[in-house]
Amino acid sequence: MEDISPHYQYDGKTVISTSRLTKAFGNLVAVNDLHLEVMRGDVFGFLGPNGSGKTTTIRMLLGLIRPTAGRAIIFGMDNAYQLPAILQHIGAIVETPVFYPYLSGKDNLHVVAAASGMISGSASNRRVEEVLEIVELRAQAKDAFRKYSMGMKQRLGIGAALIADPELVLLDEPTNGLDPAGQFEIRQLIQRLAELGKTIFISSHFLHEVQQVCNRVAILQKGNLIKQGAVSELLQQSEQIVIRLNSADETQQALALLQRAREQGIDWITRAQIEVNKQSFPIIRVNAPRTRSAEINALLARNNLFAAELHPQEGSLEEVFLELTMPPAPMGGVRPGMAALARDSNK
């Protein structure tokens, strides 16, 4: 991506665009040279291990902290100069939602509404009631915030983010502290918001959750952006074909054959490695599109290697994430297979 020049012209489609965004705390570079692009209508997943710089990035986008270098353009405006105008279009929760403990949930929403520029009165009351309904806190609306459970706090945080009906909703770990039913409700809420044309930016550790609701993702590691793209494309990249042959000797021969095939130009085989399955049989896990299963079977058969089992496997964001954030294994190497562990854990 090229730098955004001072004469950047807004295309009307890009909601967030960062250029060389960097934040250093002393010698620690929390975010390094980040180029992000979030398009209108995206449900954008922002992934990364703990300490990878996700929250720092969100804070920079919201103007809570100043970048050491680079810039963030949101709705075509530079957040270093036009932050108040930008924030009028954004609803956000950053980390654990914090509210005034002595106020009720409802009163806290009134305070947030006033801070968001909303006129107090009957319209504001109606909106607060609507939001309480959306986040299902109507029954606890008059309870003091300090009495709320973690899940209720999280829901109130989402309610506060939605109070002014913003176009961009920035959610930092929105399902933290929620039980599975609560997580499901939040996913449904996110999908409903996306259907309304809102752009959603979610930072989350829950990869299966991101896979279910997001159409695009960015993966951050140690402050560096290591992948950004459509979820469907990433999943395609992580599709695998699992082959079991009748003996360990044949398994080695098949692996060598696949390695040679790749060297000879079959570039859709990106990786092949031997693992041991749950039944203690050696298997070959080939990183290749599922649609190539028949071709692999034919290749083996032409070399008198007949698979006892051959089945394609769908990719998961968790595997993509682990593949990208774990140290790489050599082609043909035998590794414990963190991705395989992830796959097994998903079963």
Partner: protein, 324 residues
């Protein structure tokens, strides 16, 4: 404020629009500031702390005048001459009751307003709600100035309420002493000077409140503002006065430097402004010697303190990264 770059694209209109129940008010600087100030006052009103502080000030006012009335009652029972009773109960009646109210406001009131301002500023950092406010649209300066506005409203309301309560309580308790109050001092000019007198008290409280605002912002905690201002007003200022007295016993340029130090303290300048009003507000009181500092000097010093405190608090607030 930072200046915008030369070329900046027009803000995008939200194509999806907002829900019909979301009515956004005027977004000019003053309207946002007034809305935020109203919000701050709403939060103050809903805190139990503000109810406790109000109760303390009401109870203290009633107790102070009640004690004087009680002393008068006991004195009358002992058959003390009427003139002595009149002198003893002078503080229950106008205009002397204003002096008692002034002492109450500048001592207890000062502590209470420092607690309030330190809490509304430092509390945002302690609880983390500053993040909530900063991500809603208002600038950091507007958020800080809204707290200044709330402090002004609380000081104004507090001084007027306590003055009214004190004057009325004093006059009501005076009925029990049998001394007829005299209102010969009352005139339009006197009312004007009383107004000035109350404004000076408010200015004094405001100067210390702004010190609390600055220190709470600097220390990101209620305790920073509270401890800092109390230490300053009840320890450092008296110590400087002592140093000044020490300066009278030595010679040379350091002597005049030490002696002039108190002229630049908040407390000294508030006292000077009040003393300059004494002869008008309390007509029967002996005319005091000209105070060490003039009204103009005192006002300039106080204005400088207030400007420095608010300016530094704004500067820190704008420069600071809001993390945890």
């Amino acid at each position: 404020m930072e200046s915008a770059p030369q070329v900046m694209p027009e803000p995008m209109a939200s194509p999806s629009g907002r829900a019909s129940s979301v009515l956004i008010g005027r977004q000019d600087y003053v309207s946002v500031l007034l809305r935020l100030t109203g919000m701050e006052l709403y939060k103050i009103r809903r805190r139990s702390m503000s109810k406790v502080l109000s109760s303390i000030s009401i109870i203290a006012t009633l107790s102070l005048f009640g004690l004087i009335a009680l002393a008068a009652f006991l004195t009358i029972k002992n058959g003390t001459p009427a003139e002595d009773v009149r002198n003893l109960t002078e503080a229950l009646r106008l205009p002397t009751s204003l002096a008692l109210i002034e002492q109450l406001l500048l001592n207890l009131g000062q502590v209470l307003i420092i607690i309030l301002v330190s809490t509304i500023v430092g509390g945002e950092y302690t609880s983390g709600t500053i993040r909530l406010m900063l991500t809603r649209g208002p600038t950091r300066t507007q958020i800080l100035l809204s707290k200044v506005g709330a402090a002004i409203a609380c000081i104004g309301l507090g001084v007027v309420a306590i003055t009214f309560l004190g004057v009325v309580t004093g006059l009501l308790l005076n009925l029990t002493t049998g001394v007829t109050p005299s209102f010969t001092f009352f005139s339009a000019a006197w009312s004007g000077h009383v107004l000035l007198y109350l404004l000076i008290i408010m200015l004094g409280l405001f100067a210390y409140a702004m010190m609390a605002l600055f220190l709470s912002t600097l220390g990101r905690a209620t305790a920073a503002g509270l401890a800092g201002v109390l230490t300053w007003s009840f320890l450092i200022e008296p110590v400087i006065v002592v140093i000044s007295n020490f300066g009278r016993n030595i010679s040379g340029p350091t002597s005049s430097f030490f002696q002039s130090l108190p002229d630049y303290l908040i407390g000294t300048n508030i006292s000077a402004l009040l003393e300059n009003q004494n002869q008008y507000v309390f007509p029967s009181s002996p005319v005091s010697q000209a105070p060490a500092v003039s009204d103009v000097h005192a006002l300039l010093v106080l204005a400088a303190y207030i400007a420095i405190f608010i300016g530094l608090a704004c500067w820190i607030s704008m420069r600071r990264d809001v993390t945890h």
